[in-house]
Symmetry: C2
Subunit: 352 residues, 2 copies
């Protein structure tokens, strides 16, 4: 603080200033000094000097020596999405509170990129890795395994490492039931009136589709395959699917289940091209929560996945060290239309 020197102070500088050896300085500054039986007075002197000179340990050097970096990684498919960005937010908070440094990266749902990004993180000797929504969790697992890196899967399960995911089946059941009941308030609902858009060949989509179909069959008696319209996690493809349906039927289905908020963005693209009065009576369910998505001009039921709880569980599992490769389910909650939930931002103090 007081000091104006250009270069960053090292333990060697403090060693000279204090008259102690570098190893003593190191011990004092990394907290191991009691164990090393350093005199209290010596420690205080060194700490005083360190403060005066704004000493900060070089974490690359420390990491090199100790082969730990204090970095904890979170691998996301994308940032630009409320589900994942709020996961990033909770992740950061939890990592920081453990005295480590969060490293959030995205890999664009590309299996090869996922592995490469993780290789890079490993080159920085990260200590732990959360693999969220990976397209190929087991591929990433192998990379981690080889490097001895502790890791868990979040959101999409793997078979080789512990996984913490939403209870997609139950969530989809809740959501499907909610939109059916709501749609039936406007009159009887035929199986052809209820569609599902979005999702692809991943575990979450499968489970959600399974939940959707089970409830639909139970409540509406039938479940034609045509009502399932996978589009990938792409707004553009989803918009195309809505457009195609619209061209064929002159309207949208009375009610539909949208696999994620990313797919819901596809619906927005479709809506932008059509006057909204035309679709004033649709009922939508979206497997994801977005505060604005909840207030669209038609009823939108949403599912809020508890990413904060998943991260917490993830740390618990990593701390417990080498848990079995089982899948832990976290319950999501059904969010009725027009609901503004509080989120991680509310934890922030914000002065006016």
């Amino acid at each position: 603080m007081t000091d104006i020197s250009k270069k960053k102070a090292t333990i060697y500088d403090l060693s000279i200033l204090s008259g102690a050896s570098p190893s003593t300085v190191s011990a004092v500054l990394n907290g191991s000094w009691r164990k090393r039986r350093i005199k209290e007075a010596t420690a205080q002197l060194i700490q005083k000097l360190a403060n005066e000179h704004g000493y900060k340990a070089n974490l690359q050097a420390r990491g090199l020596r100790s082969s730990r970096s204090g970095l904890v990684g979170l691998l996301l498919p994308v940032h630009d999405n409320r589900y994942f960005s709020s996961m990033a937010q909770s992740f950061e908070a939890q990592v920081r509170s453990r005295g480590q440094c969060p490293l959030v990266v995205s890999a664009c749902r590309d299996p090869e990129e996922e592995r490469q990004v993780v290789e890079t993180l490993i080159s920085y000797s990260i200590d732990e890795l959360f693999i969220a929504g990976a397209t190929d969790p087991d591929g990433v697992h192998k990379v981690c395994e080889k490097a001895g890196l502790k890791h868990v899967n979040i959101d999409l399960p793997g078979t080789l490492a512990p996984s913490i995911i939403s209870d997609n089946y139950e969530g989809a059941r809740m959501l499907t039931q909610a939109i059916i009941e709501r749609a039936q308030e406007d009159g009887p609902l035929s199986p052809d009136d209820l569609y599902l858009f979005g999702g692809r060949n991943d575990h979450a989509s499968h489970e959600r589709i399974r939940g959707f179909r089970d409830v639909k069959r139970a409540l509406l008696g039938a479940d034609p395959d045509i009502c399932i319209q996978p589009t990938g996690y792409s707004p553009a493809m989803t918009a195309r699917a809505f457009e195609a349906f619209y061209e064929g039927h002159g309207k949208l289905p009375r009610a539909f289940f949208v696999n994620s908020s990313i797919n819901l963005e596809g619906l927005m693209r479709f809506l932008a091209l059509h006057p909204h009065e035309t679709f004033a009576d649709i009922i939508v369910g979206c497997y994801d929560y977005d505060p604005f998505g909840s207030f669209l001009p038609f009823p939108v039921f949403m599912i809020r996945q508890d990413s904060e709880a998943m991260i917490t569980r993830g740390f618990a599992i990593l701390d417990a060290d080498r848990g079995p490769a089982i899948t832990h389910l976290v319950q999501p909650t059904l969010v009725p239309p027009r609901t503004a939930l509080i989120g991680p931002l509310d934890a922030l103090k914000d002065i006016e």
Copy 2:
């Protein structure tokens, strides 16, 4: 790849395997081998061995020696917001395409936290830093300065380093004009019918408020102070401001300008407590773009800030090395209601 050894290979391992010295191996693997006049055959042998053993440089060691890490930091106020998360998304892409590793962190709009987080990043020897939306850019600047870290401000300007920000004044003018014109379609608008909610004591808010007031005065002839309601960047506080207005007037203002999407979330919280029919005729302008925010059940004009361009400019400035501490303006665009823009996600390939 082929290799099954437990530990990561180092240049020393490859040195033994190839019969070359560690320095030769190093030179081959970091690309400086031509400069060092290493025989082509030697280089190829070493590269082959490196591939076979899945060699990856230890970046902490490299960073320690060269005092560069290949890490580029982006300091955000928060993740959980479309503006900043899409900034993170473009940032990542650009950093990766430059062969570096992105490090995105948030500091919760807390000046002390901002400085500490940056100190931590510096301890990892990051090479460059983008300071986005910092509460105290100049405080952060000083920390960077002392460490000789190249940096630029994004979104909120500082006085000591180059800054790249939205043209908030022009953006606010466009937005204000758009909502006034739209509101006047429903009949004459009095100055008391047009409010501004959100924002606080930062440069962006000041400029937006200035733009708002200038246009309002020009078009509506007056601009009572009461119509400016700063709430900070907090959904909860913003909701309270709407609630207070509603209690006093039995309705919301006919038209209003919301300072950011975070404040717009405050409007959602208010709306959740009231039947939306009551507010079917409000006209809203929001300084930020959110794809779902654009489709609320009343007209929402939005401003899309070009975060991608800001990042690009930022790199240009950093590459030009030590630009003057001037402020560069990036033009935002006005987004009419019910518009679904494509975003960084559309760059992703997504197989069905």
